[in-house]
């Protein structure tokens, strides 16, 4: 049976069940607030958000692969396009674009036009070092690790910190070949 054609982000988003983005935004705000109260150090909160994102990402990738019917990506460029066009659309309902490729093709920027996590949010003076949306960088890192790519994801521009857009830098560190759980000679 030939594999089904890959579906576009819009089509998948229209077919999944959806919830009000404000519930999502307010729940995320409650999480960040709890973390700030418990951990108090902004760097610790950044790390914890990244870790939470990683835990989400390693499970999110299964759903992504199941719903989107994509075949194996040929190179990192295609991977980044998939994340931006299909991934962000089907989970968050927002469009993202990829730009600023470096010469090797291992580092790119994903630009978010719209970010449902940051509605109603303003960073107070005491939390200026906080990467509020750091959970997204963890999600991408976790998802890519499960498909054999070790990456580093950082925020370049963050509107809550005064920049004019949301820009994530995704850098491919290395491709990790899949290891089989049993050895041949045993």
């Amino acid at each position: 049976m030939p594999p089904a054609a890959p579906r576009s982000g819009e089509a998948i988003f229209a077919s999944v069940e959806r919830v009000n983005a404000e519930l999502f935004t307010l729940t995320y705000g409650a999480i960040v607030r709890q973390l700030l109260t418990d951990l108090e150090e902004v760097d610790e909160v950044n790390k914890q958000l990244d870790q939470m994102g990683y835990n989400i990402g390693i499970r999110l990738i299964d759903e992504f692969l199941a719903k989107s019917n994509v075949s194996r990506c040929v190179d990192f460029k295609e991977t980044a396009e998939m994340i931006a066009k299909v991934g962000f659309k089907m989970f968050l309902g927002v469009t993202a674009s990829v730009m600023n490729w470096d010469a090797d093709g291992t580092c790119c920027s994903i630009l978010l036009e719209d970010n449902p996590l940051v509605d109603f949010v303003e960073l107070p003076d005491t939390c200026q070092g906080l990467y509020y949306c750091n959970i997204l960088s963890g999600v991408i890192r976790g998802a890519l690790e499960m498909v054999a790519m070790k990456t580093e994801v950082t925020w370049i521009r963050d509107m809550l910190r005064g920049d004019d857009a949301y820009e994530l830098q995704v850098k491919l560190l290395k491709q990790v070949p899949e290891e089989y759980p049993y050895k041949d000679d045993e």
Binding site: F13, V16, E17, R18, V19, N20, A21, E22, L23, F24, L26, T27, Y28, G29, A30, I31, R33, Q34, L35, D38, Q48, M52, N55, I56, R59, L60, E63, M90, F91, L92, G93, S97, E113, D114, P116, D119, F120, V121, E122, I135, M159, D164, A165
Partner: protein, 291 residues
Amino acid sequence: MIGAGKIKQYANILEKPLGKGKQEVSLSAFAFLFSELVQYNQTQVDNISELETRLEDAGYAVGARVLELLCHREKGNRRETRLLGILSFVHSTVWKVLFGKVADSLEKGTEHEDEYMISEKELLVNKFISIPKDMGTFHCGAFVAGIVRGVLDNAGFPAVVTAHFVPVEGQQRPRTTILIKFAEEVGTSPNSLASNIPSLTKVWYCKEKQGWVDYHAWVSLEFSCRATAGREAVNFSWLVGLMEISMLCIILYSTVVSDMFVDESVGKSQIADPKPFPTLVFATAIGAISL
């Protein structure tokens, strides 16, 4: 790039338009986020009731904000002041906006007068959650109970809200009931007023001194009146005012006016002993008027 516009920058977050609230994210994104919330809290607590408390506190913050948002957007800045009004607000408007449908039912408790129940077949937050046997009565709906508590508390109806599983015959999965038990200062009748209605004198002050401000915004200045019914609060403050005036009159009379009743023909020896009877009559009259 043609077509890729820059996101508009606002100097102040308050200037940014609120949006219609129609934007959506996928259910799985929310489910993942909620599962991380629960998992993180599990690492921070030792027992189930603490876990439920933490989830409730997270929900409380959401509820407070949801109330402000929906009052402004859906109800044109009018807030509910009656018990039944706020309950149907929670049951229909809040549920519709947050979960996409109105709650299944709203019932008044039969055993206690101050208990109400909102029932739902399956809470949205519980859709992908299964509770292990060793966690007993733990309910992730504590988050939703916190949302309800946040809405009610900030609307002036303090309550204790909990979530319970109620087994239903013939169905494998139990129903969820959000139990709302109102605090004593809220009356038990469906017409009870919110506990943060401002008194008439304070409304007058605000209007005259500060100009006619938006009622909803003004109430959030947190003028609170502890009486259960707004009308009683009005009478009480007028009463206090009158009693103060009458006390002032009594003092004034006994120092200044009583001189007039001293018998001038008697002489100086009598000045030290002013007639007590007129003073008593005057004070009683003032007291009677103020009551």
